[in-house]
């Protein structure tokens, strides 16, 4: 049943840590989503603007273009300005920077503080799948 809801939704993972990227890929694929992977900021931004995913899980510390920069560039784009983004990082201290960019409407999750299960829940909530 749930696959029906998630099948036509695309999630873009922008994450440079391979084990993290893979477990997120496995978990969301299992949930039925179509999942795209990017391992650096440049590739991530390119994929986002080309594929227009329904939601982006965005790391902050990334090779080439960092997460905050990606967010800034997305928000300047016609499609990207409304794109759903969840910042998934371990840097709790940059929350303020992210909030400022997101005009207060943030989705900011510290990786080590969340279960995968809760992350999935949060994603579905954002996509109004629940």
């Amino acid at each position: 049943m749930k696959n029906k809801l998630t099948k036509n939704k695309t999630i873009l993972l922008i994450e440079d840590e391979i084990p993290t990227l893979e477990i997120l890929y496995d978990r969301f694929t299992k949930e039925g989503f179509r999942v795209l992977k990017a391992r650096d900021g440049e590739n991530g931004l390119e994929l986002a603007l080309k594929e227009h995913p329904d939601l982006i899980l965005l790391d902050i510390i990334l090779p080439k273009v960092n997460g905050i920069e990606i967010l800034r560039k997305l928000r300047a784009d016609n499609w990207g300005k409304d794109a759903l983004v969840i910042i998934l990082t371990n840097l709790s201290d940059i929350r303020t920077a992210a909030d400022t960019l997101e005009n207060g409407v943030y989705s900011f999750m510290v990786k080590s503080a969340w279960k995968l299960e809760d992350l999935v829940k949060n994603v579905k909530e954002k996509l109004k799948l629940r």
Binding site: T20, I23, R27, N90, L91, S92, D93
Partner: protein
């Protein structure tokens, strides 16, 4: 030659002097118009060592105990006084006494008239040797003080009560890039502070005047060419001998380097936390996937072992967060971002996180939140950390089937939260130390070897940062009650 009338007057004067000045401590001399001594009182012996007999009939020009330079000075002074009797000036004359001691006297001469004619000059010579010594001592100590100020490696600036600079030292000049004192003296001290800090500086000036001093306030200061630098200032009010404020004295320290190293520390923590959390998140998520049946069922043993790994990971996450919070507190980088928070909801969230432990130990939780809304303007993370620590302690340090009570009451502009248990309690001799970093009470070290001794330290620091208060009552083997007062509007 004097006329008869004048002569009589002179004689009368001499007689009057004999009668009046015998016991006066100052030397009193009556000179005739030519400068010859008509009368001199006994004080002359004490001050100069010369007797009345030795002095009488002499002219001041014959004073061998005064050198020629001082004799000329005396002659000039007398001439000036004769020419202008209204002038009240005095003169200081130095000499050497009969037995070789230094004499310094303050001389005042008063022409005496008969009709319009000056017939004599009454001179009072006061021994000011002692006064001079004291004056010199004062001058010396003033000089020494000035030298200390000048050579101090700390930047010292003195201003009047209106904030105009009256004195400063080399270190001040160096710090602000001025080349001479003249450039600064007379300037307003505020000209050295960036305008964005003027309001704060004015308030602090008033505060200093009120309490007598101020310590370590930070301003952005300016160099001569307008470059900004951070500095810490301590100042005190200088009082005169009657206790009236007359000046401010400030010591200013450039803290640019200090701030830089703080920043480096902050960055290090940020990086370290990221580095620690990355593998933790990986361990957590992979364990979660295995436990969650995503890869086929594990047998009982495998499941149990994995459960332990997962639990240890969670413990590591908590420790990392704890250490991060401590370094933030100690580096002063803790950010308080207040929003409207429902304390009751925060506590309920914490309770649901602790549900497993509460169930396993069959603990009964009694809640009494009252009816009023429990909204405070506070940082939700901080409030969460406070109650997470207190409640997990309450659950941890009780026997099975114990009671934990939570009550919240509104008290004027704050909330009083009471968290009570009927558990192990805190031994009497250790109660004063329970908020100390790394301290763990003896009676629980064996029962719960895993504690860090950091929880209550963090709780107390966070509550203090938020302007609240925490205290407790405890009895060993009967239980502990913590009282937490949180202002409903927490300062940012």
């Amino acid at each position: 030659m004097l006329d008869r009338k004048s002569n009589n007057k002179l004689k009368q004067l001499q007689e009057e002097c004999e009668a009046l000045f015998k016991h006066v401590k100052d030397i009193i001399v009556l000179f005739d118009k030519k400068g010859k001594i008509l009368y001199i009182n006994p004080a002359v012996k004490k001050i100069t060592g010369f007797s009345i007999e030795e002095m009488k009939g002499k002219s001041f020009k014959d004073f061998t105990f005064v050198n020629s330079k001082n004799r000329r000075k005396l002659a000039d002074y007398f001439a000036k006084r004769l020419k202008n009797p209204e002038d009240q000036s005095v003169s200081e004359v130095e000499g050497v006494s009969k037995n070789g001691r230094k004499i310094i006297v303050e001389v005042s001469a008063n022409p005496l008239k008969s009709g319009r004619k000056v017939i004599a000059v009454l001179v009072i010579a006061r021994d000011i040797n002692k006064r001079k010594q004291i004056e010199n001592m004062l001058k010396d100590s003033k000089e020494r003080l000035r030298n200390m100020l000048t050579s101090s490696p700390e930047a010292i600036t003195v201003t009047d009560l209106n904030g105009f600079i009256t004195e400063c030292n080399q270190a001040t000049l160096n710090m602000h890039g001025f080349s001479s004192k003249e450039e600064l003296i007379g300037k307003k001290a505020f000209d050295l502070i960036a305008s964005k800090d003027h309001k704060k500086a004015l308030a602090n000036m008033k505060k200093t005047l009120k309490q007598g001093f101020i310590k370590d306030v930070e301003y952005t200061f300016l160099t001569k060419d307008g470059r900004e630098f951070p500095a810490e200032l301590s100042a005190s009010v200088v009082l005169d001998t009657t206790g009236k404020p007359i000046a401010f004295m400030a010591i200013t320290r450039n803290i640019f380097k200090h701030k830089q190293s703080l920043k480096a520390g902050k960055e290090f923590i940020s990086i370290a936390s990221h580095q620690l959390r990355t593998p933790l998140a990986i361990m957590n998520w992979y364990s979660e996937m295995l436990l969650g049946d995503n890869t086929g069922r594990l047998n009982n043993k495998q499941g149990k072992y994995l459960e332990e790994i997962y639990k240890a990971c969670q413990q590591l996450v908590r420790l990392t967060d704890l250490l991060l919070n401590i370094s933030r507190l100690e580096l002063g980088t803790l950010k308080i971002e207040p929003e409207l928070v429902d304390i009751g909801k925060v506590i309920d969230n914490v309770l649901s996180e602790l549900l497993l432990q509460i169930r396993n130990k069959k603990i009964k939780v009694n809640k009494d939140y009252g009816k009023t809304p429990l909204i405070v303007n506070a940082d939700p993370n901080i409030i969460h950390i406070i109650f997470q620590n207190l409640l997990s302690n309450a659950v941890k340090y009780v026997h099975e089937e114990s009671n934990v009570g939570i009550s919240i009451k509104r008290q004027n502009s704050s909330f009083l939260v009471k968290i009570s248990d009927n558990g192990y309690g805190i031994p009497k001799n250790q109660r004063s130390r329970i908020f100390t970093k790394f301290f763990r009470a003896e009676n629980i070290r064996e029962k719960e070897p895993d504690g860090t001794g950091l929880g209550l330290y963090i709780v107390k620091s966070f509550i203090q940062e938020s302007g609240g208060k925490i205290w407790f009552k405890s009895e060993e083997n009967k239980g502990t009650t913590f009282y937490i007062k949180i202002p409903s509007n927490i300062k940012k």
